[in-house]
């Protein structure tokens, strides 16, 4: 669902194909709803080991992020969260997109041909959010719903979070497969 408020484009969960199909590389939006973090090890479990992703993210976003979380009485608190280098996931992302049906991926920096292909064929977009801005990221995180695969260690675990107007998210690969890092003008 997409809402425009004070000139700000906000995509809300559940994310639909309709929400993202007209977004072009370079466009900016914000996101509210549930998200799952996943870096190298989460991708490996899903793609190489064939495990099921612990949360259905087909209508949510995947964050390439390894947050700092703190144990609090009845759960977890997100202390700092920002994107990590997306290119590390390039080898896995095509199959990850096909397996999970995720439509929005948020990370840092460029991704390459295999991800472009999956974005074009599966209807997915990649975005970056300004990196090194972990307090802004944490301030947008309303709650940590659950920590999955915590045996992987804090940065690599899959953290299920709820965020509010996280962004700005800058589209780097759109559903036509256009890559902003290559075609910037």
């Amino acid at each position: 669902m997409t809402e425009i408020r004070d000139g700000r484009r906000i995509i809300k969960e559940p994310v639909t194909t309709e929400d993202i199909k007209d977004l072009k590389a370079g466009d900016v939006f914000y996101y509210s709803g549930e998200a799952l973090t996943g870096r190298d090890a989460v991708h490996e479990r899903v793609v190489v080991d064939g495990q099921d992703i612990p949360v259905d993210i087909s209508d949510k976003i995947l964050l390439h992020a390894g947050p700092i979380v703190k144990r609090v009485d009845d759960g977890w608190e997100c202390f700092a969260m920002g994107p990590t280098t997306s290119m590390r996931m390039e080898d896995f992302e095509e199959e990850f997109i096909r397996k999970t049906g995720v439509k929005i991926i948020v990370g840092k920096g460029a991704m390459a041909e295999k991800t472009e292909k999956a974005c074009r064929e599966e209807g997915c977009i990649c975005c970056v959010m300004p990196a090194g801005c972990a307090v802004v990221g944490a301030a947008c995180t309303e709650s940590v719903l659950e920590g999955y695969w915590t045996d992987l260690g804090m940065p690599e675990a899959a953290w299920h979070v709820r965020v509010k107007e996280i962004g700005p998210l800058i589209v780097t690969i759109d559903t036509s497969g256009r890559n902003f890092f290559k075609d910037r003008n």
């Binding site: 700092i68 202390f79 990590t84 260690g153 940065p155 690599e156």
Partner: protein
């Protein structure tokens, strides 16, 4: 003071300093960031700078780490041979890192190689990194704190060139590497260039270059010219903040060089991201201290 009280005091100061460097950028980096912001005219780059500055404000207000990647801790120690805690320093730094990890908190970033297990303590074999320099006859101690982030370490590389490839070859090596890997390493970057005898001496020189002020200029004229040429070329690349385009791409380029064998030239590059958290603190023998990177640090 007894040795024990001494080392406890130094541990406490260092724990607080490590925490402080995770939350506050060094003074020179802050002012350089301000300069780049003022000079920028690309709207997207300005929007990114706005978020960065808002993040720094929130980090200070909420006392939280600027970036969730609080790095793999590296220390460079320049210690006088007569400094009372010379023999205890590594233990002091480990204890301080443990305290800072708990209190800040810092992310648990140490993974054992091959077993791939996260040690859960930010310590492990060879972690934290400690590089030593002994200053004969002196009784003071300087400590550089550098939390090396994963993303900002990725462009690092070193090679050994032939003399005929020379300084031009060295510049080309650095440029190629930063242009290829820099966009993903959170620019604006500080680029450290090391020249020396072999790949590892050059690599350590490149790291030393990252520990110097963003505005420092090499005293050698040739090295200073190399710094200028590289800085100009990297800024003209248009990579910009976060690699999404902009007027400037680097905080600066620092070259550190040492002598070499006439038959070879080691060259290395290391990069620091826009959250370039380096700290420098100096102790005298009575543990009076001051920091030239973080003048607001108080303990």
């Amino acid at each position: 003071m007894t040795d024990r009280i001494y080392s406890k005091k130094m541990t406490e100061i260092m724990a607080q300093f490590i925490k402080h460097t995770a939350i506050h950028l060094p003074d020179d980096v802050m002012s350089k960031l301000g300069e780049l912001y003022e000079a920028e005219d690309n709207p997207r780059a300005l929007q990114i700078y706005d978020v960065m500055l808002e993040n720094l404000r929130l980090a200070e207000e909420m006392e939280r780490p600027i970036c969730q990647d609080t790095g793999f801790m590296q220390f460079l120690i320049k210690c006088g041979s007569e400094f009372p805690l010379l023999g205890d320093l590594e233990e002091v730094l480990k204890e301080a890192l443990a305290e800072a990890t708990e209190e800040t908190p810092l992310r648990l970033n140490v993974v054992e190689t091959f077993s791939e297990e996260n040690t859960g303590t930010n310590m492990g074999p060879g972690a934290p990194t400690v590089w030593w320099e002994i200053m004969p006859g002196r009784d003071n101690c300087e400590i550089y704190v550098y939390p090396a982030g994963g993303g900002s370490s990725m462009p690092g590389a070193s090679a050994v060139l032939t003399p005929s490839q020379g300084y031009e070859g060295a510049e080309a090596f650095v440029l190629e590497r930063v242009l290829e890997k820099g966009p993903n390493a959170c620019p604006p970057l500080l680029v450290g260039v090391g020249l020396g005898n072999s790949s590892e001496t050059a690599a350590l020189n490149a790291k030393r270059a990252l520990l110097m002020s963003v505005d420092s200029v090499n005293e050698d004229e040739g090295a200073a010219l190399m710094e200028k040429r590289l800085e100009k070329a990297l800024n003209e690349s248009g990579i910009g903040p976060q690699g999404l385009g902009g007027k400037n791409t680097v905080y600066g380029v620092n070259v550190v060089d040492t002598a070499r064998h006439p038959a070879c030239m080691g060259v290395a590059v290391a990069t620091g991201c826009w959250v370039h958290r380096r700290g420098h603190i100096c102790f005298d023998r009575d543990l009076n201290w001051k920091s030239d990177t973080h003048k607001d640090f108080n303990y």
